[in-house]
């Protein structure tokens, strides 16, 4: 077999689940995801929106030197062997014990798990979590998250290390949170076209795909995979049709969705997946090309030690989104959470992550220079450190959806990818 079983992300997640110690907290916060959350959600006051104004929980950070952080897979150094060097260094430096949980593999399902605690302003089990822009916008709008205290996060001030591209000013990333009052960027994610260089050449005779249309080449039938993240897959497809994703209409959305559906039904697209797609981009060729997250492919190349996977930033436009830190109202360790944010806004720490294979865009000024000094090709990689020109011309943000659109579009989307519609 061409790949090791242990590399499979689903395997890693299942293994982590099997290995995770059962504590009161994990039982309440994590394991309950399946049944208890269902029960609680059913018991919750219907209506979804919150009527009472929530206030931050009493902060006991000074006495309880702990912080729990929920994050996505592939987002920290030493994840595969659970060594977490930068977290260990933070613990040694501050005396705060960090529980790092790879608990997020989808914004919606994560939200559904903690929704009732968020609505009630209760502890969700996580003091901070990193979720994607649109979900963070929803959390802020509903008043589920605390305002950040920048006295604990001096590194993330715009005057310090926060990259201005992410400062939340109008037209910049994070504009759902002007002045970054409630959220701070963790990593930027570029969705683009990815391909396996050798297999792509073998099948199509061409060196690299240059457009979305190239994915629909007959030679690639059954070898294309796209992301289950609606905003990325449809965003890229809409832009390929010349639609501005900052102001598309409902018709634009459904027309593009129909195009995707045709490719799913026609089996051009073999599968629509979340993070586990990366394992299919193997040398054997389960997937040869598709819509992917750039950081995953760069990371996979570094991990495997070759350069087999390529990423193309489309001229028609790629999507860009951020995962952002927030602190839920019910967190009793807000100050500790802010300290860990502060720590990751040190360029040296951000550079360590980048060099250790966390290949997503760091929103920390000064990281690029540090990475260049140690690994020039990585530091000069546009996919990790996009230039101002790339930001402006090639990376675009999916427009915010109204709650009603969010509901309609998400349902239409999941119906197509699960073969219902």
């Amino acid at each position: 077999m061409s790949k090791s079983f242990s590399e499979d992300p689903m395997f890693q997640q299942a293994l982590a689940f099997a290995k995770s110690p059962v504590t009161r907290r994990t039982v309440l916060a994590g394991a309950g995801a399946t049944s208890i959350a269902a029960f609680l959600a059913a018991c919750a006051k219907p209506g979804g929106s919150n009527t009472k104004t929530l206030t931050p929980a009493t902060d006991v950070s000074a006495t309880e030197k702990v912080v729990t952080w929920d994050n996505w897979p592939y987002y920290i150094d030493g994840e595969s062997d659970q060594s977490f060097p930068t977290i260990k260094a933070f613990e040694a430096q501050t005396g705060i014990k960090v529980t790092y949980n790879i608990n997020v593999d989808d914004n919606n399902s994560y939200f559904a798990r903690v929704k009732n605690q968020l609505m009630a302003g209760k502890d969700t089990g996580a003091d901070t979590m990193c979720l994607t822009d649109w979900m963070i916008a929803r959390l802020i709008d509903n008043g589920y998250v605390q305002a950040l205290d920048y006295t604990n996060i001096p590194n993330a001030l715009p005057t310090a290390n926060l990259d201005p591209a992410f400062d939340g000013a109008a037209g910049h990333f994070g504009d759902f949170d002007p002045g970054r009052k409630f959220s701070l960027p963790w990593k930027g994610i570029i969705a683009a076209i990815g391909y396996h260089k050798v297999n792509y050449k073998k099948l199509t005779g061409k060196d690299a795909p240059t457009s979305v249309a190239d994915l629909w080449a007959p030679e690639l039938k059954g070898k294309v995979e796209v992301l289950s993240e609606m905003r990325d897959t449809l965003g890229i497809m809409m832009m390929a049709d010349g639609i501005d994703i900052a102001k598309f209409t409902s018709d634009d959305f459904y027309n593009t969705l129909d195009k995707l559906k045709a490719q799913v039904v026609g089996k051009q697209i073999r599968n629509v997946k979340g993070n586990s797609y990366i394992d299919d981009f193997n040398d054997a060729g389960d997937a040869v090309a598709g819509i992917i997250w750039a950081g995953d492919l760069i990371g996979k190349n570094i991990e495997v030690g070759n350069d087999n996977l390529g990423v193309v930033l489309l001229d028609s436009g790629s999507t860009f989104a951020c995962d952002n830190f927030v602190i839920p109202m019910g967190s009793p360790h807000a100050a500790n959470a802010e300290k860990i944010m502060n720590y990751y806004f040190e360029p040296a720490v951000a550079a360590k992550l980048a060099l250790a294979g966390v290949n997503y865009v760091p929103p920390v000024k000064g990281t690029k220079e540090l990475v260049i000094s140690q690994n020039p090709s990585l530091g000069n990689n546009e996919l990790m450190f996009p230039s101002a020109d790339t930001y402006k011309n090639k990376l675009h943000n999916f427009r915010p959806l109204t709650p009603k659109e969010d509901n309609e579009f998400s349902t239409a989307w999941s119906d197509v990818i699960s073969g219902v519609a």
Binding site: F5, D8, F11, A14, R270, N271, D283, D406, I417, S418
Partner: protein, 317 residues
Amino acid sequence: MAIAGFSGGTAKGSSKRNSKGASKSALKGDRKGAIVAGILLIPGLLYLALFFLTPLVQLVVTALESPDASGAIGAYVYDFNVQNFADVAVKYSLQIFRSFGYAFLATIFALLISYPLAYFVGVKVRRWPLLQRMTLVLVIAPFFISFLLRTVAWKQLLSVGSPLLGVLQNIGLVPHDGYFIGTPAAVVFGLTYNFIPFMTLPLFTTLERLDGRLIEAGADLYANPFKVFTKITLPLSMPGVVSGTLLTFIPIAGDYVNASRDFLGSSDTSMIGNMVDQDFLSNQNYPYASALSVLLMATILILVSIYVRRAGTEELL
């Protein structure tokens, strides 16, 4: 069941005594027995009320909710919207049909694989208890490993370029440029594999008790082995077959791991469980998810009732 057991016991006792006084005290005993039975039942009833009845009622209540005026994601209000049931039955008709189809196929395959296996362990190696125990452990041992890990392992073992897929391609079961993971066959394969012990163990417990002398007698009466099997072995093992098929069919119909796009499935293989998962966690359409769950439960209940009525429940286990 417990009440029947208690009162049945005392009734038997009272019939043996004939004097008036004795029957009076038996009556007293009856009442006492009923009270004791009632008290002993309280924990069980409370448990059922709390962990079975309450969620079930909540599920039905949720299944009847309607979207609120905002139409926002996850926003629903209490209502009596029976339409939800019709909506999900129509919208997910393919997935419902597919779930029961897959469950039927996987149960048949599991039975075909498990019967010889259980026969071997329960009858053939009966004379060597140590060997019997070892073979039984061999059947069960893989299932000490997490269900998820085993399923992901199959995803790897059957992925493109794997030797196993190569064999399937060489014998013509899979086209040479084709793939297996993500196809309905892969999902049925995974379901069959994952539920084999639930079929094997009940079969084993009935076959283990199979009286070898009856088989010998059948042979003495000039029945050929096939006839011995259909007239003696199979009827005697029917309780195991019935409970085995129930123990596999019911969970398979509701399974959502094997058919998931992240495991052995694709957009082509979604089952009811995947739709409940999607409506609950992604779309936050709690009424649809609940209505579909209730529908799944009701359908299974009806199918199982018909099946059990036809097959008989005597000595089910």
